[in-house]
């Protein structure tokens, strides 16, 4: 794509009756596209362009609101009590208010990803030029930016092209945030539709960010066999100076790594990452290490490994600086979005900054030049490491036993713990000399530190848990596959048919953060279960790290046990948060590459295709953030259901189908125009699951789609029944809703199915060419 800024500047113009000076007129950009695919109906859709599609989904999957707050306090008319049907001073009721909160969460998430991408694109254009070509996977990828093509109609070819995409995304986010102002939208479903819209924009923002960094920074380009990387603090050589980068934006980390390489000290220091920055460090640098997911920030800072802590953006604990100061580790804030109150030293010399940090004159600095971050971080780490000698902020085991005796057993720690951990009991045992119960909490603790905040005798409870579990912490050394980026076109060709026909039983995307209800093992177990059943398992973000943090009976991690391709039984890590776009991208590419549907500006048709044909499910077992909300919303609009773990109920709104309402499950048969009842396939669009057992059964069920062939449906039902029997101890009671012809029934289960079908007076129906869109109905033959 080429774009031109058309502007006219007139310094001075004299006419017969006027004088014009310094006139400047800009009429934006003229788009000159060499993109042969015909434009679909909705390029760069506005807030309402896809409203009809959203409403089709929202009619099937009605919101179930669970307000976390009874009040609205967003304007000065408030606080308004919205309980029991009361409206606030602005006229809004609790349903609309709840959906408004959902929209705001999605806007925050989309803005965060898009701003991240904007920063990277700015920086990379400055470094490489706007004409730098995009290369996501060489000859293996022709459809380089499926979301961008689908949503905007643009086929980006250079870094500069991405700016046009970002401009559109930024405008839409601004429009969507405006919707949340008091006295704007008043209908809950319209708020929901706008949340879907922002979710779609979020996917666009993420795609821009990841293809920009993949193209320029030498990341793996859609490599199924991307190398394995060490994971866990036990894999870090802590005899060396350690620089720990926390956040999501790899640009400052690149500055550090480049400086270390240029000055030939890369083998003398460790550059490690926590949260998504870790993924992108390892995509850039083969000596990089992933120390762990987001929730472990206190763990790693207090344990004293880091000699310098570099904070970029997103999901950074806002008290990271205070924690780092306690272990005498200097902090460098490296993002405009996260200045931490530090003085901006970007214009100062490296020598001055290094001196100030090493001498302790200042505990932290703000540096907004990534190259300067690199020099300062490396030099400070080298000089500080011998001084601080990995100073910890953890008590000794003896101190824990003594301090635990001061515990009043008031229960406030447990009542503040999101996991309801039995901390008082563990402290009582510790006071009696038994540290085992405290050690047992290590695996389940999410590291929020709320227990310490409420303790009336100021016990550092989280540190007690860390110290008790220190042995496990030090032994954490596993393997993660480096984020591979996009899925190759050829991989899509290979699996398109078996996925759409149902013979590969499904695609499971295990994504999101690490707010797990009972430790990370559940993530590993779920991934392994479905990879073993030859589903395609895709991971990203913190979930990808957690998936690699456990081993099978042969000592192999998940990424060693299963191949990294987009194939039956593959487990592939696409990368960091912004790489989630490749999961949506793969779904879109199935519709385009396998089914030959046009992408360009053709959102509704592609989403309709995915919804009816692609057995894909997202699982965010530990989702906590607004970004996760936005990512989920992008999948909802594509018709892909998302499950969240129990803490995900705090998103306060589910999108639930009603299995018991057959009228909800009609689609058009595109061949005839007849309405066909296809059953609850998929049953929900957004659902909280309470236990890993429930997650496994729900995943298998949510992979069922109207388009499944009888063979595919039979395979999917086999998995659903098998998991149901194993975890629920009985046959599912809703099988009659999923059997269209007797050929759908798995051969080995005919007797058991027969009883259920008979009990429900089951009747055979047709397998349609399913669509929710009347315009997709082909002409009925006379």
């Amino acid at each position: 794509m080429t774009t031109k800024n058309v502007s006219v500047k007139i310094d001075e113009l004299k006419t017969s009756n006027s004088l014009i000076k310094n006139l400047q007129v800009s009429i934006g950009k003229v788009v000159d596209q060499n993109y042969a695919e015909p434009m679909g109906p909705t390029p760069m859709p506005s807030l309402t362009a896809l409203r009809d599609w959203d409403m089709k989904l929202l009619t099937k999957y009605k919101p179930f609101y669970m307000p976390d707050c009874d009040l609205c306090c967003l304007c000065t008319f408030g606080k308004c009590d919205l309980t029991s049907g009361k409206r606030g001073a602005c006229g809004l009721d609790i349903g609309a208010q709840s959906s408004r909160i959902v929209l705001l969460a999605c806007c925050i998430g989309a803005a965060t990803h898009t701003a991240h991408s904007r920063h990277m694109v700015h920086h990379l254009i400055e470094k490489y030029g706007s004409r730098y070509p995009l290369d996501i996977g060489g000859l293996n990828i022709k459809v380089e930016a499926p979301i961008t093509r689908l949503v905007t109609g643009i086929k980006p070819e250079t870094l500069g092209d991405l700016e046009t995409v970002l401009e559109y995304a930024e405008e839409q986010i601004t429009q969507a945030i405006a919707v949340a102002h008091t006295g704007q939208e008043g209908n809950n479903l319209d708020f929901e539709s706008k949340a879907f819209h922002v979710g779609m924009i979020d996917h666009l923002g993420m795609e821009v960010g990841d293809i920009a960094q993949v193209s320029t920074l030498g990341f793996p380009k859609a490599e199924p066999e991307a190398p394995l990387v060490q994971l866990g603090i036990g894999s870090v050589d802590i005899s060396k100076p350690v620089i720990m980068c926390i956040g999501h934006n790899v640009i400052p980390s690149v500055g550090i790594i480049d400086y270390a390489k240029d000055h030939k000290v890369d083998d003398k220091i460790e550059v490690v990452g926590l949260c998504c920055t870790a993924h992108d460090i390892t995509r850039y640098y083969n000596r990089g290490r992933i120390v762990g997911p987001i929730s472990w920030q206190l763990r790693f800072i207090r344990a004293g490994f880091a000699d310098v802590v570099v904070l970029d953006e997103q999901c950074v604990r806002t008290d990271a600086f205070d924690e780092a100061r306690k272990v005498h580790a200097p902090v460098i804030a490296a993002s405009e979005k996260n200045c931490m109150g530090f003085k901006n030293r970007t214009e100062d010399s490296a020598d001055e900054i290094v001196f100030d940090l090493v001498s302790g004159k200042v505990p932290g600095v703000l540096i907004l030049d990534p190259e300067l971050v690199g020099e300062v971080a490396v030099r400070v780490a080298q000089q500080v490491a011998p001084l601080r000698k990995k100073m910890k902020n953890l008590p000794s085991l003896g101190e824990i036993k003594q301090l635990a005796k001061t515990c009043r057993q008031c229960n406030m720690c447990r009542r503040s713990c999101p996991q309801d951990l039995k901390i008082p009991q563990a402290l009582k045992a510790a006071a009696e000399g038994d540290l085992v119960p405290l050690t047992d909490l290590y695996e389940y603790c999410v590291g929020c530190g709320r227990c310490e905040e409420v303790c009336p005798v100021k016990l550092n409870v989280h540190s007690f848990i860390l110290k008790a579990g220190e042995k496990f912490m030090m032994e954490e050394s596993n393997l993660c596959r480096i984020g591979r980026g996009a899925v190759q076109d050829v991989e899509i060709r290979n699996v398109g048919s078996p996925i759409v026909l149902g013979e590969i039983p499904g695609i499971l995307a295990v994504v999101g953060c690490s707010n797990y209800p009972k430790g990370g093992k559940d993530v590993y177990d779920i991934c392994r279960e479905f990879a073993s059943r030859r589903y395609i398992v895709v991971t990203s973000g913190c979930a990808a790290m957690t998936a690699g943090s456990y081993r099978n009976s042969e000592g192999k991690t998940l990424y060693e046990e299963f191949p990294g391709g987009f194939e039956a039984g593959g487990v592939l890590n696409v990368g960091s948060c912004v790489a989630n776009s490749h999961i949506a991208g793969a779904a879109i590419k199935v519709a385009n590459i396998f089914a030959k549907r046009n992408l360009r500006g053709n959102y509704e048709e592609i989403a309709d295709y995915i919804y009816n044909r692609l057995g894909a499910v997202g699982l965010a077992w530990g989702a906590y953030s607004q970004k996760a909300a936005a990512i989920a919303a992008g999948f909802w609009r594509l018709g892909i259901p998302v499950l969240v773990g129990p803490h995900g109920s705090k998103y306060r709104r589910m999108l639930l189908g009603r299995e018991d309402k057959p009228e909800n499950w009609e689609v058009y048969d595109a061949r005839t125009g007849n309405k066909v009842n296809v059953g609850p396939a998929p049953e929900h669009l957004f659902q909280t699951v309470e236990t890993p057992q429930e997650a496994m059964v729900s995943i298998a069920k949510l992979c069922i789609r109207p388009n499944d062939t009888w063979k595919g449906r039979s395979i999917k039902l086999s998995h659903y029944v098998d998991l149901h029997k194993r975890y629920y101890g009985c046959m599912p009671q809703d099988l009659h809703l999923f059997v269209r012809t007797l050929a759908d029934v798995p051969v080995t289960l005919r007797d058991e199915f027969g009883k259920i079908l008979e009990a429900h007076d089951w009747k055979e129906t047709v397998i349609p060419d399913p669509t929710l869109l009347p315009r997709m109905i082909r002409k009925v033959k006379d």
Binding site: M66, P67, D70, D81, S84, I94, M412, R415, H647, E694
Partner: protein, 180 residues
């Protein structure tokens, strides 16, 4: 005994559950209701009182009172293992979404329940579902049998020890000997 929400930050607004100060009150409320439903979550196998799991107390209660049970998550298997057939099983969100629907006719198709009892869900999930019912089904009466105070229910026991909880459950069950 405390009527503060079990999780400290879970502050109710203008409505707050009536505390059940004696188990006899809970039994009387259940007896007064014409159609009661008991929803049992995954915590039913995680709490032990006097050597018995919570689920066993609940089976005793369900057998005595004949109150139908919906098992959430994978709990149906746990009930079946113990020889009890729940009236239904579905996810916690699904049953919440049905209870909030004024047109839902219940598991047996005979009409809405006038009392829905929750027990054993993760505190925050149960709290959110109760909030959804409080707001969107304001006429629906709800109760919890947990030992944690739930402000969004119509009636909730105050925060209580395991010993008090066990006693409460036993007393309630004893009031139904011979059926509801």
């Amino acid at each position: 005994m405390s009527c503060e929400p079990w999780q400290c930050a879970e502050i109710a607004a203008t409505k707050k559950a009536n505390p059940i100060v004696k188990p006899e009150i809970a039994a009387a409320i259940i007896k007064k209701a014409s159609r009661t439903l008991l929803i049992v979550g995954s915590g039913a196998t995680e709490s032990w009182m006097e050597g018995k799991q919570l689920i066993e107390y609940l089976i005793d209660f369900a057998n005595s009172s004949k109150v139908p049970v919906v098992a959430t998550a994978h709990m149906v298997g746990e009930f079946l293992k113990r020889g009890y057939q729940p009236a239904g099983f579905m996810s916690a969100m699904d049953i919440g979404n049905r209870v909030v629907d004024p047109e839902w006719k219940g598991l047996d198709g005979k009409g809405r329940y006038d009392l829905v009892i929750f027990v054993g869900l993760p505190f925050y999930m149960e709290e959110l579902i109760l909030s959804g019912l409080m707001h969107f089904a304001p006429d629906q009466k709800t109760m919890t049998l947990d030992n944690l105070y739930h402000p969004h229910a119509s009636w909730s026991f105050p925060n209580a020890t395991l010993e008090v909880w066990a006693t409460n459950l036993k007393v309630i069950t004893s009031k139904f000997e011979g059926g509801q």
